[in-house]
Amino acid sequence: MNNGAKIKPGSTMERVNANLAKRYAKERRFRRMGLAAIVISLMFLGLLFGSIISKGYGAFWQTYIQLEIHFEPEDMDLHGNRSLEVLSAVDYGGLVKRTLREMFPKVKKRKEKRKLYGVVSNGAAFQLREMVMNHPDLIGRTVQVWVPADDDVDMLIKGHIDRHKPESERRVKDQQIAWVDELQRVGKIEKRFNTTFFTAGDSREPELAGIHGALMGSIFTLLITLGLSFPMGVAAAIYLEEFAPTNRFTDFIEININNLAAVPSIVFGLLGLAVFINFFGLPRSIPLVGGLVLTLMTLPTIIIASRAALKSVPPSIREAALGIGASRMQTVFHHVLPQALPGMLTGAIIGMAQALGETAPLLMIGMVAFIVDIPANMMDPATALPVQIYLWADSPERAFMERTSAAIMVLLAFLISMNMLAVLLRKKFEKRW
């Protein structure tokens, strides 16, 4: 472009050329800044996933200890009568303790015994009771049973407890470490897939805590949200896009929808507390109320997405239908809606993903209680998955931190698969008119 030789001194060309290197450097700098911004955002994404996965993957395995349990009728105080009531009242905790004492006969002092009992989870007794209740013929036999280890032992096996720290700073004492090492040497300790995590409700003991209850709560809540917000959102979008005359009232509705989309979610929680719980007298902590609140919250998202989907259907479709004598309602329901439905579904899935991750409004309506039972319907007290994460994140135990991360991984898996479904749906049904 520029042949240095031909340029006259003092000409515009020379002044431009003098600055050119600087301007190009500026250009490169600017470009690099843009790239840096993207790299930083993606780095945060990687950091977040990395820290959660590295902390949480361990929770999918749980340490189990093998106990050789003698279901002796005398030890269990069973004298003849073996009805279910009697069987359920047996001191199974005592049975576990007896077995542990037999395994380590040298332990004599009371304090030491208590430490020994602490190696095995409290849940062992419940596990034995369930076994006996289901199979009463076990009585009188000797069975090898794998029971969950205490969460501190679990952490030790997984290497999260520093053995070199002074004993007073450790949650696992020297003696317990010695027992655990002994058990490990004879192969009576084993890490297994943690099914409890997926089948149990909440618990104060990390090794017995699971996400099943929270997951069911989330599912019930989302069912209500979907069942209410999708039909209503689509109906509202159809009215506003296809029928509404342009007047003050429609304008007012539109302003309201746009504003509601940006109202902080916690304010919807206040609304739920004041209206559904205090005014209508519905009980606290139930998925029904949670679903109603999340319905109101996701409605604007669904309406906006559905309107966009309706807008993308070309007017020629409507004109053709009207031209052959369909009524306006028939035009919309028979011809426009089927074309717009995939887009609407995509919007609904994204709205549901948003509702699934929402925590703050659920805190306001009391879905934040410690609930052990797995909810069976929409009127049972429940928590939701994100709330469970919030609750566990507050617990001091190291094992709960692991479980929090694991619960987050489950939640993210749900969210990402929902979003992928939305993307696939959009790709498959997207039409270029």
């Binding site: 940006a262 902080p264 004041a274």
Partner: protein, 460 residues
């Protein structure tokens, strides 16, 4: 009969009505569509709407008022000694009776009077259930019969059905208005009650926030001071830090993606940023509390700074990361809306790519970008979980980002989670804070939407 069974039977009846209505129309028309005003299916819909709507309306109202009516009836039957109790004690007794009925654990002793009342309650409940079943099913059948008799050749069934559908469409779209009204009323009423107990000037201008109320009169140090300035300041500080992170990174990312990046890179990067946007805030909160806050504290210690473990910096930083995709997608839209002609003009004058962006595109897109930033600020102010998990509870009035501050949303959560009386100023304060939050975000949103809309009109 249980509610689900009843609903199921009702649904079956509706399907049956549809079939009957359609058949009836065809019989009347001698099997020829052209003899009818509407298509035969519309007569079916007509019949099934007549079958469903009255029955459903009664069902909803019945279940809504059932328990309160039964409770009134039962409390009227209670012994005089119990009836003369103050209303809050009476509520406790009634609560116990309801617990007895549903087989829950009862507080205190069960005396025979209560047992009798519980039996009475149960009896009434059974009667009500049976009556509900009869009434609903009778109404459904009656509606069907009525519709059946009304069907005739010239009947405008389609218009009638379409009117009903239209009513449903309009009422669905008014839900948004009702939600707004509901929010305003519920927050406003409780806030007014709060301002009756605490003067509004103390709330808006007070410098000390300590919402602990004395349970006994003689308790020390818990008088309940509701000066919200420290909360506003804390919210501002954290939002400011968040915007400091999100605004430049989000904007630069948007510029790079829309102006520089190849199509392939855009296809990979955009979904990744969308993942960042889709992560629940509780996850960000956990990340802030467990990874970022300790990291900042340790690095602060390393260079000799005293950093609180719940520093505003950690919460703000993570909140900023959360908002990056929000800012970038809004800016992306705006930048793409700038007409290509403006870019071409700038290139023709010899401007480099970055000069075009900085001196032509950004100024042209500025109103939209500002609008997007305002929306992002409103998002940061209303964000709850990150600050609940990573920011502190102590209301410090400070501008130092290394100290712990608290925010409006954190206080709302701490005031309302757990069991409190609903009338104490402590609980009501949460609604006053909610009012402030709602008004602030509303104003920001209205301005932002106005700016964005104005800007869009310019180029469309």
């Amino acid at each position: 009969m249980h509610l689900p069974t009843l609903l199921f039977i009702l649904a079956l009846l509706c399907v049956f009505s549809f079939w009957i209505g359609k058949r009836r129309a065809l019989i009347i028309a001698d099997g020829k569509h052209c003899n009818l005003h509407s298509l035969p299916g519309y007569y079916g819909y007509y019949a099934s709407l007549w079958c469903a709507i009255p029955a459903l309306v009664v069902l909803v109202f019945w279940t809504g008022f059932e328990s309160s009516i039964i409770t009134t009836l039962v409390s009227r039957e209670l012994p005089v000694a119990l009836q003369s109790l103050p209303s809050d004690r009476l509520n406790l007794v009634i609560n116990d009776i309801q617990n007895l009925v549903s087989g829950n654990i009862v507080s205190g002793e069960i005396d025979p009077a209560m047992r009798a009342a519980a039996d009475h309650y149960q009896h009434l409940q059974q009667i009500s259930q049976a009556a509900l079943t009869v009434v609903v099913l009778a109404l459904a059948v009656l509606g069907l019969l009525l519709a059946y008799r009304q069907i005739h050749q010239a009947q405008r069934a389609r218009n009638w059905v379409e009117r009903v559908i239209m009513f449903f469409l309009i009422s669905s779209s008014s839900i948004a208005v009702f939600t707004t009204i509901g929010i305003v009323l519920s927050v406003l009423f409780e806030a007014i009650r709060f301002f009756q107990a605490v003067p509004i000037s103390d709330f808006l201008l007070g410098l000390k926030w300590s919402p602990q109320m004395a349970i006994r009169e003689d308790q020390v140090g818990s008088s309940g001071v509701f000066g919200a300035i420290p909360l506003f300041a804390g919210t501002m500080l954290i939002s400011f830090i968040a915007m400091l992170v999100a605004a430049p990174i989000g904007l630069m990312a948007a510029i790079y993606l829309s102006e520089y990046a190849s199509k392939k890179m855009r296809n990979i990067t955009k979904p990744l940023l969308e993942i960042l946007a889709g992560i629940p805030t509780v996850v960000y909160g956990f990340f802030a509390a467990l990874a970022v806050a300790p990291f900042i504290r340790d690095s602060g210690e390393w260079i000799g700074l005293d950093v609180s473990s719940e520093s505003a910096l950690a919460a703000g930083l993570v909140m900023g990361v959360m908002i990056i995709p929000f800012v970038s997608s809004l800016s992306d839209d705006v930048i793409n809306a700038v007409p290509q002609a403006m870019r071409d003009g700038s290139y023709a004058l010899g401007a480099t790519h970055s000069e075009t962006i900085r001196q032509v595109i950004i100024p042209a897109a500025l109103p939209g970008i500002v609008g997007g930033m305002l929306l992002a600020v409103s998002r940061a102010i209303g964000e709850t979980m990150i600050v609940v998990m990573a920011a502190g509870l102590s209301a410090n009035l400070t501008a130092n980002p290394l100290q712990a501050v608290t925010t409006v949303t954190v206080q709302m959560v701490t005031l309302l989670v757990g069991d409190q009386e609903f009338d104490s100023p402590k609980t009501l304060a949460a609604f006053a804070l909610g009012l402030m939050l709602f008004v602030t975000t509303l104003v920001l949103n209205v301005i932002a939407l106005y700016v964005v809309r104005k800007y869009r009109e310019q180029y469309e």
